[in-house]
Symmetry: D2
Subunit: 317 residues, 4 copies
Amino acid sequence: MEASGKSRLTAEQEAEIAALRDQRAETARPVAPGLEEILYKPLPVLDHGFVRVIDYMGTDDAVVQAARVSYGRGTKRVQEDRGLINYLLRHWHTTPFEMAEIKLHVKLPIFVARQWIRHRMASVNEYSARYSVLDREFYIPEPNHLAAQSASNRQGRGDILEGAEAEEVLNLLRNDSMQAYDHYALMLNEGDGDARREDRQGLARELARMNLPLNFYTQWYWKADLHNFMGFLRLRADPHAQYEIRAYADVMIDILKRWVPVTHEAFLEHRMGAAQLSATAVKAIRRMIDGESVTAETSGLTKREWVELCAVLERDA
Amino acid sequence: MEASGKSRLTAEQEAEIAALRDQRAETARPVAPGLEEILYKPLPVLDHGFVRVIDYMGTDDAVVQAARVSYGRGTKRVQEDRGLINYLLRHWHTTPFEMAEIKLHVKLPIFVARQWIRHRMASVNEYSARYSVLDREFYIPEPNHLAAQSASNRQGRGDILEGAEAEEVLNLLRNDSMQAYDHYALMLNEGDGDARREDRQGLARELARMNLPLNFYTQWYWKADLHNFMGFLRLRADPHAQYEIRAYADVMIDILKRWVPVTHEAFLEHRMGAAQLSATAVKAIRRMIDGESVTAETSGLTKREWVELCAVLERDA
Amino acid sequence: MEASGKSRLTAEQEAEIAALRDQRAETARPVAPGLEEILYKPLPVLDHGFVRVIDYMGTDDAVVQAARVSYGRGTKRVQEDRGLINYLLRHWHTTPFEMAEIKLHVKLPIFVARQWIRHRMASVNEYSARYSVLDREFYIPEPNHLAAQSASNRQGRGDILEGAEAEEVLNLLRNDSMQAYDHYALMLNEGDGDARREDRQGLARELARMNLPLNFYTQWYWKADLHNFMGFLRLRADPHAQYEIRAYADVMIDILKRWVPVTHEAFLEHRMGAAQLSATAVKAIRRMIDGESVTAETSGLTKREWVELCAVLERDA
Amino acid sequence: MEASGKSRLTAEQEAEIAALRDQRAETARPVAPGLEEILYKPLPVLDHGFVRVIDYMGTDDAVVQAARVSYGRGTKRVQEDRGLINYLLRHWHTTPFEMAEIKLHVKLPIFVARQWIRHRMASVNEYSARYSVLDREFYIPEPNHLAAQSASNRQGRGDILEGAEAEEVLNLLRNDSMQAYDHYALMLNEGDGDARREDRQGLARELARMNLPLNFYTQWYWKADLHNFMGFLRLRADPHAQYEIRAYADVMIDILKRWVPVTHEAFLEHRMGAAQLSATAVKAIRRMIDGESVTAETSGLTKREWVELCAVLERDA
C-alpha cells in the first residue's frame, strides 16, 4: 500500500495533513499502531481518487470485550481471543463487530459514489456542489481497464478493447468531460479577469452541476462500524463488483489489516474465501464424498447453480 | 394533481398499467379509497419524470391502532382518533407512524436521485445501467426555473436568468446532453443496422454510462413507512430544498392527503407550518408578549437567528 | 397451523376480530390469498401467546418487480420468476426482498420479547405498562420443555428434568408468578370493592410493574419487510435458538409460506438448509471429493470447526 | 458528577479498570481531555447501576470538519465553529453529528433496559443470562421516588407515597426480589457445598432467569453516534420520561459536556430548552405580540395544546 499520492493534493492540503500528523497526544483509549502509521495520509486509488483514514475507535479487543461484556481487558490469552473472533464471524454473531468504528475521507467518481451510498448503515457527509464549485477532475480508465460488454454476463465486462476502438472511446470520454467542465464553468461565470463576463449573472451552482458527467470526482467523509465495513468489503471486493469500486475496496482491505489484524484474518477465512452451499448442493457434495459420480443432471441443481458449485470445488462444470 | 402523463410511457407500458388497474380483488385489509383511485398511474413531475403509487399498507387507522395496541378497530370516535394523531405528531411519538407503508415508482434526474437517496430509512431498487441501456431522456429546466446563483445565500437561487444568458445556458445544457448520449450510444455500439459497426465490440455498459451527465433520468422503486415519508417531505418540500426535488415532494404531499387524510392535516399543522424556537428565542417572545420592544441587539440572538425569528413572527427584521 | 386460540381472547376481542374479517373491500393491489385466509386470526403459541397477521403489502411478485424495475407485471413466466427469486437469495441480493412488508400482533413472554427486540430493522409498538395494567398471564413451560442446563454447551439445554425436581421447579415458577402478580395488584390498589383500600393512593403503574417477573406476557404490533422477516427466522428458527422464541419462529415460517410461497421455498433451500463453509473447510472438502481421507488433524480446522463440518456432511466427527 | 462508585465493583474489577487507566499511549487522533479524565470510571446511577465511558471517537471538531468536508482542521476561528454547530443543530442538519461516536458500559434495571433498547440506531452487547448467572442485585426506589399513580396523567407519577403504604410497598418489592433470586439460585442448583444438591440437575439458565422480576440489574455495552446520543437524551432527560431512565440521561448529559462542550451548549439551547409551536400556535403568538388578548377559546387550539402553549410562555392557562 503506497501512501504518497502527493500530487492529488494542493500544497496547502499537504501542510494541513502534516500538521495533523504531528499533533500527537496521550490517550487512555486503545490504540491501533498499524493505523496510526497511515492516519490522515491519502492512499491513492484510480487516477485522481484516494482513501484517507481520519479517525477510528477500538481494535480487535473491542470485539472480544463486547462479546464477553467484561469490565477490563480480561485475562484471556491471545489464542482464545483469536478463536472467539473466528467463532463470532463464522456464526454471524455480528453485534460485537459493531463496537469498533472507522472514519474515512474518500475521493471518488460520482458513478462509484452512487454504488457506494447503497450501503445505508454508514454515515456520510459529501462535498456539496450546491454550495461549492467542483474541481476539473474526472476519471478516465487506464487502457487495461477499458473492457467490452461481456457476451455471457449481462452485468459484466468482457475482453479489453484495443486499437482504434479503444482510442476512440478514450477520446470521447476525455473530450466530453473537458467540454462539459468548460461549459459548467461558463454557465457559472465565476472566473477571474477575462473569464468573467460582467454582463452575465451566472447560473446557480445547484443547476450548473447537472451538466457534469458521472465520471467527475466528488468526495465525502464516510464512517461505518467494523461489521458494516466488512459487509461493504464482502460485496465490493468481490470479483463481480465493478472494477472501479473494487479498487477502493482493495485499499480498504489493507486498512482492515492494519486496524484489526485478527479480524482481518478471520474475514478472509469466513467471508472472502468462504462458500455458501444450498441444501441441494450440500446433498450433492455428500454423495461426491461417498464416491458417487454426480453430474449437472443428477445433482438436482439448476445449470447455473451447478456451474457455481463446480467453481467452488475447482472442477470443470 | 393531474394524473395522465401518458406521453411519458410507451404504449406497452400504458397497457401493462391498465391491466394492473383492472385487476381488482377482494381483501380484508384496510383500504385507502383515495389512493386506490390513482394506483399505478404516473403523476407527472418535471419534463420527463413521474411518481406512481405501486402499493401501500395501512391507513390513518393503522397509526391509531398501533398507538393503542388494540385488538380490533376499537370503538373510539373519529374525533378522538384525530386528537390522538395530532398528539402523537406534536410530541414526536413517531413509532405509530412507522406502521403504515407506501411504495412508489419514481422517474427522476440523477442529481435529484443523489439527494433523495440520502434518506436512508427507505428501501430502493434502481434501474441498473450496468445491466441495461439508459433511455435518451434528460432534464432541461423550464425558463422560469433557470435561476442565477443567489448573492445572499451560498446554497440557493437568485433571479431568473433572462435574454441571451438564458438562451445560451439552455443551449449548452441541451447540446451537451444530446452529444453525451450520442457518444454513449456510439461507445456501446448496440444499435441496429447502420448504427452498429461490426468491427467494434462495444464498451461495457457499466463504463459507457459514465459519459452521461447528472441531468439524465433514472428510475427506481422506493418504499418507506409513513414516518419516514413525512420526514422526507418535511425536508424536501421546504422552501430551502432545491426546486427540482421539491417538485417531487409537492406531488407526494398530494399522495399523503389521499392516503392518510387525518395525518396529512396534522402534518401541515405540526410539521410544515410549525416553528421551532430556541431557548433564547422563547425568552424573547415572552418579553414581546409582555409588551417589551425587543430588538436584534437586546434579543440575545445572533443576527441570523433574529432574522429567522422575525420571519416566523412575520415582522421586519 | 391450527388457527383457533379462541380461549386466549375475550368475547369482545373475538367480536372485534370477526368484524374485521367480515369487512371485505375491493383493491387493485396485489393480494396473497393464503394470507387473507388467516388475516387477523390469533395463531396460538406457548401457553398464552399468539401471532396474528394484521396487514401485509406485496407478494412474491413484488420481489420480482423490484429486481426488474418494470412498469407492470411483465410477461415472464412463473418458472423464470422462481429462478430469479432463488438467484437473488443465493447471491444475497437482498434489496428486492425489502419491497414486501408484513405486520403482526404478537403476545409473548417478556424474556422472549427481550430477544426479539434485538432485531432492530423492524417497527414496534408495545403495550405500555406505564399506561395500562398488565393481565395476570405468565408463561409456565410444559413438562417436556423443562430442561436442565446443558453440560456441553454453556448456552443450551440438556436433558428434560423429571420427578421431584421438575415438580419443584414448576411449583416455584407458578407460585412466584402468582404472588408477584398479587403484590403488583396490591401495590397498584386499583381493584374494585373490597380489593380497593380507600386509605391507599396506589403505586404508580410504571413502578409497580417492576415486581413482575420476566415470564409475564406482553404484546406488541411488529412490522418488518420480507428481508428482515427472513433474517429473523434464520436466527430464531435455528436449533440453537431458545425453544420459546423458536415456537414463534415456527409459526412465522408457516405465515411465510402462505404469504410468499416461492420465496418460502427458496428460503428453505438457501437459508435454513444451507451451509456456509470457511476457506479451509472448502479445501478439506475438495480433498475428500478427490478421495483423500481427511481427519480433524489434517483438515487444518480447529476441533470445533471440524465437528461443525462433520455435522454438515452427516458423518462422525 | 461524583465518580467513585467503588462499592459497585469487585476488587478484581477495580484493578482491571485501574490498569486500563494507567495504560496511556500516543495517538494522532483528536482527543477530548474532559472525557479522558473519566475514561473507564463507573459513574454511579440509582442504587446499584452505573455508566462508564469505554471509548469515544471525535470531538466538536469532527462535526465542523464533516460539515465543511475539509482536508485538515481549517483555519476557521473558534467563534465560527460555534456558530456553525448551532446552525446545524437549529436546522436539523443532523449528519455531521453522526461523525463522532461514544461507547458506554451501563449497568441498569431490566425495566429501564427495555425502554432504552427502543433507541434502535445504536449498537448493543448485553450480558447473557442464557450463558451466565445473574448477580443478586435489584433496584429498590429511594423513598422520595416512591410515587403514586398520577391522577391527571395516565402515564405519570403523582404524590410521593408515605407512611404505612410506602413501607408496605418497599417491603413487598424487597421481599419478592429476594425470594425470586433465592428460587432462581435454587432452580439453577449451581451453588457450592451445602447449597448444591447432588440429586438435582439444575434448570437451564435460559429458563431459570424467567423467575427474576424486572427490577433486577443487567448490563451492556452500548455505542451510539453523537446525533443518536442527543436523540436519546432529548427524550430520556425530558421531564415526562420515567425517573429511573432520567437518572441515566442526567449523567449522560454531563458526559456530553465533557466530550463536546460546544455541541452540549447548542444542545441545551436548541433541543432541551427549545419549544416547537404548531402553525396555529404561531398565529396565536403573533396576535399576542400585536397586543391582542388571546384566550383558549379564541386561540384555535385544543384545550390540551393551549395548556402546552401557556407552559412555554410561562403564563396561566
